[in-house]
């Protein structure tokens, strides 16, 4: 009768396997995640400057390319090292040095139009990825400072060179407490003892 008992055990496990298989299969269909979750997460981390310095026509295409594993992790210039590390974390790839000559933490700048020179050619409106420029044909244009991401795409297209990038002014609302100077770098206490002793 022992072989029967062995069969019984096999039967139980088969039944269990079937049950779990069905449950998992159902869950896979029922709770399917739409879209590409990794691209979404990457897109969340990108600065959304939409400047195209990564070689893609915006942040989302870059995120998608990253998620497909088709591009390097260190292409986003405005994001800098910080974003690069986050991208590397999400994609599970090795961090990579930013390209030579990439300025770390560049000051935040926004575009300003010299309104006396503007001839109303609407070229900058067409270039702006976030519709931050206001104006109409033959009329003066101006930048909505709140919306400008500082991508500089409008600067080269202006035929009369009347757009310039200016650092965002410090005022009461965006002023920050400076970081206190650390007088002692946090070394292990032992090193202090050694020095004194």
């Amino acid at each position: 009768m022992s072989w029967l008992q062995g069969l019984e055990a096999i039967g139980i496990f088969l039944a269990l396997a079937l049950l779990f298989g069905l449950a998992l299969g159902y869950a896979a269909v029922r709770f399917k995640v739409e879209g590409n979750p990794m691209a979404e997460r990457l897109d969340q981390e990108l600065p959304q400057t939409q400047c195209g310095q990564c070689g893609f026509p915006g942040c989302k295409p870059y995120a998608e390319a990253l998620a497909r594993g088709e591009s390097e992790v260190n292409l986003c210039v405005p994001g800098g090292t910080e974003v690069m590390i986050k991208i590397a974390e999400i994609t599970g790839r090795d961090p990579k040095q930013m390209a030579e000559g990439v300025e770390e933490n560049p000051p935040i700048e926004t575009a300003w139009i010299n309104e006396d020179l503007c001839i109303g050619c609407v070229l900058c409106i067409k270039a702006c990825p976030v519709d931050a420029i206001l104006g109409a044909t033959k009329l003066m244009h101006t930048v909505i400072q709140k919306e400008c991401t500082g991508c500089e795409l409008c600067v080269p297209v202006c035929p009369v060179d009347c757009i310039e990038m200016r650092p965002v002014a410090t005022h009461l609302k965006n002023w920050q407490w400076p970081e206190p100077e650390t007088l002692v770098h946090n070394k292990p206490l032992a090193s202090l003892l050694v020095r004194e002793g």
């Binding site: 990108l46 915006g58 009347c162 009461l172 920050q176």
Partner: protein, 721 residues
């Protein structure tokens, strides 16, 4: 309690922390209070400084808009700045002149703010007459009965929280009566050195309590609690006496109660005092009003009383001038806008005031960038403590003292650790937003780490990160919207093009058919004579249309206004003629033939039909364009041709502008070394460019003037429809 307090007093010399048994909240410290430095002298009446500086931007909310101009003379209590638009949303309160005088400037001045930033301020030069507008707020002395009425008055009187945060008081009040059940009067004043609230309670107890009554009454609160620390026996006595008096005078509709609270820093914090007095622990991020509680500083309540009863806006406040660097500290009824240095100079400084003064107390106060900054509505103390050599900062030894001292139950050492490592997301998870920056942790830290400075920096950093995230999200949305818009526009353009193509194919046939049917319709009802007229008209129209067409082939269209009106006039005339003829003909032979009575209406209809037919014929005469298409296509054609002209003009203008810009640059570059040459030389290209632009514009205008009249048919059609 009494037993516990005696016990605590007994052991405190040996174990100072025994005093922590005397109150409910966690942590807290017992610093040297030094309050007698300023309480031993009487209150100094307001001094008239050389100038009053009134910043247009306040601690909270947007910038106020001045309603006076440079050179204006203002009287005391006159409104000089207020919110541009909806004050409620912008959190702006009105600013009033603290004394009479002249507005000598509206210019950026250094603010009483640690940043040292300059922002627009009204500068008022007192004329010494102190000529006041009585009852500037037009108050009739009646107590407001609804929260709305009180809020309106508060916004007009410029009252903000005078305890320190400076949140506009009206914005703090709920709109619904009865939402607040307990109004707490904050008389704790726990910071060392500061004694202005103490003195205010001693001297103006009635006004404070009446202010509380007014507020509680308007809000429908059920009780009024006044919390005072035990180290102010005079204030306690004064308030107690005032309570009895008011109750005896029947001026206290809301029951009042005085509560003595233990002397510990930071008892005056909102969460701490609420917990101490009511046993309600406010949750992280929660407001006191969610629990039906409202806390107000004694100075704020007094200002409310004066606004309601006397119609006086907030233009002065009691300020403590004290510190170890001053011979005789005092409290002064300072006009808002009085410069710090002038007040401090009155207190006989022991050393020259070449070190930065502190606004606020030694624990939470901030160093001023410059001593010539104005007293604000929130300035409770000007502290002159000569700088001490800073204790050398040592590494954190994880002793946990800071954690024991934190009144908000945070983990200061953890927050410090992550803050100095720039791991701001971790700092945020440790609930740094609940840190009240009280400084207890720095005070007790044996390693002398300036913990609060790290927290301030971390808070600012976190705030900025959130702002950046929000901006990125906005940019993402705008970019997505733009892409969608471009897509949609492209689709629309294609659809339009397709529709047009289809229309061009089908329309001529349809139009001829329509015209034919119209003609035949007309023919059936009209007499032979009319037919002849119609035919003649059609022929004439055809001829005209052809000439139009000829002209059009020359590549010019889009008539000027004059041409258009002329064409319209002609069309009108013709239509009128047709109508008259039609009427004439129908008047004679028709009556016999057709029994239907011919009304002028009918005749007019016919005339219209005739005109339509003519138009249709004319249109047919313009192959391959159809009537309906003419407007569309010719407009388009006109657009392209004028667009060409415009393009030319624009190019010229662009060139002009470029030359202009270059000239300007050259001017700038050449700088001072050769001014005359620089101005003489680039002026020629500049002139050239301008002339070119002018010429281009003239040419364009001339071309436009030559353009032929729009085809009559269109005008006629427009008229007849």
């Amino acid at each position: 309690m009494a037993f516990l307090s005696t016990l605590a007093k007994l052991i405190s010399p040996l174990y100072p922390m025994a005093k922590r048994w005397l109150y409910r909240f966690h942590g807290g410290i017992f610093p040297q209070y030094n309050k007698s430095l300023s309480t031993r002298n009487p209150i100094v009446p307001a001094i008239l400084p050389s100038e009053l500086i009134l910043p247009l931007s306040q601690a909270v909310g947007e910038v106020a808009e001045p309603v006076v101009q440079v050179g204006d003379r203002v009287r005391k209590n006159q409104l000089i700045a207020r919110s541009k638009e909806d004050a409620e949303r912008k959190l702006v309160v009105a600013i009033h002149a603290p004394t009479s005088g002249n507005i000598v400037a509206i210019e950026p001045r250094t603010l009483a703010h640690p940043s040292g930033l300059k922002e627009l301020c009204l500068v008022l030069q007192p004329d010494g007459q102190n000529d006041a507008i009585e009852n500037a707020l037009h108050s009739d002395g009646a107590w407001p009965q609804t929260p709305q009425a009180l809020k309106k008055l508060l916004a007009e009187s410029g009252i903000i929280g005078m305890g320190g945060a400076g949140f506009p008081t009206y914005a703090k009040l709920p709109n619904v009566p009865g939402k607040i059940h307990t109004l707490i009067i904050n008389g704790a004043e726990c910071e060392p050195f500061i004694s202005c609230d103490d003195l205010l309670m001693q001297t103006q107890a009635q006004e404070i309590l009446l202010g509380g009554q007014i507020t509680a009454n308007a809000l429908g609160a059920q009780q009024l609690l006044c919390g005072i620390e035990t180290n102010k026996p005079d204030a306690i006595a004064a308030i107690q006496q005032a309570i009895t008096q008011l109750q005896a005078l029947n001026q206290a509709p809301v029951p009042m109660q005085l509560m003595q609270v233990a002397t510990v820093y930071p008892m005056g914090g909102q969460k701490q005092l609420v917990y101490e007095m009511t046993g309600i622990e406010l949750q992280s991020g929660g407001h006191a009003s969610d629990q039906g509680l409202l806390m107000m500083n004694v100075a704020t309540l007094r200002a409310i009383y004066r606004a309601v009863q006397l119609g006086e806006p907030l233009t002065s406040r009691l300020v403590t001038v004290s510190g170890l660097g001053l011979e005789s500290g005092f409290n002064v009824e300072a006009l808002i806008g009085t410069p710090f240095d002038e007040l401090a100079a009155l207190a006989r400084p022991k050393f020259p005031l070449d070190y930065p003064l502190i606004m606020g107390g030694p624990m939470m106060g901030v160093q001023m960038p410059n001593n010539h900054v104005p007293v604000l509505k929130t300035t409770n103390c000007i502290l002159a403590n000569p700088p001490q050599p800073r204790e050398i900062q040592m590494p954190c030894i994880r002793c946990g003292e800071c954690m024991d001292a934190c009144p908000v139950n945070l983990l200061p050492q953890q927050m410090y650790w992550h803050a100095q490592g720039h791991e701001f997301d971790k700092v945020e998870k440790l609930n740094i937003k609940d840190c009240i920056e009280c400084g207890c942790c720095s005070y007790v830290c044996p390693s002398h780490i300036p913990l609060v400075q790290y927290y301030r920096h971390a808070k600012a950093e976190i705030k900025q990160r959130h702002a950046e995230k929000a901006a990125a999200e906005l940019a993402k949305q705008r970019h997505a919207f733009r892409l969608a818009r471009l897509e949609r526009e492209k689709a629309e353009r294609e659809a339009r093009l397709k529709a047009k193509k289809a229309a061009v194919k089908t329309m001529p046939a349809a139009a001829t058919n329509e015209a034919a049917t119209l003609v035949t319709e007309n023919a059936t009802t009209l007499s032979a004579r009319e037919k002849a007229i119609l035919a003649a008209q059609a022929a004439a129209a055809r001829k005209e249309g052809q000439t139009d067409n000829d002209k059009k082939t020359k590549g010019q269209s889009l008539g000027t206004n004059k041409d258009k009106t002329a064409a319209a006039e002609a069309a009108k005339k013709r239509a009128l003629e047709a109508a008259q003829k039609a009427r004439a003909t129908t008047a004679t032979p028709k009556t016999a033939d057709t029994p239907s009575p011919v009304t002028p209406q009918n005749a007019r209809d016919k005339a219209i039909a005739a005109a339509k037919a003519a138009a249709a014929k004319k249109a047919v005469a313009l192959p391959p364009l159809a009537t309906d298409q003419i407007t569309d296509l010719s407009a388009n054609e006109g657009f392209t041709s004028t667009a060409l002209q415009k393009e030319e003009a624009r190019r010229a203008a662009v060139e002009a502008a470029r030359a202009n810009a270059k000239a300007r640059k050259a001017l700038k570059d050449s700088g001072t070394e050769n001014i005359t040459a620089a101005t003489a030389e680039p002026s020629t290209p500049m002139m050239d460019a301008r002339q070119k632009a002018i010429a281009a514009a003239k040419a364009a205008a001339a071309k436009r003037a030559q353009t032929p009249p729009q085809s009559d048919a269109i005008a006629k059609k427009d008229r007849s429809e």
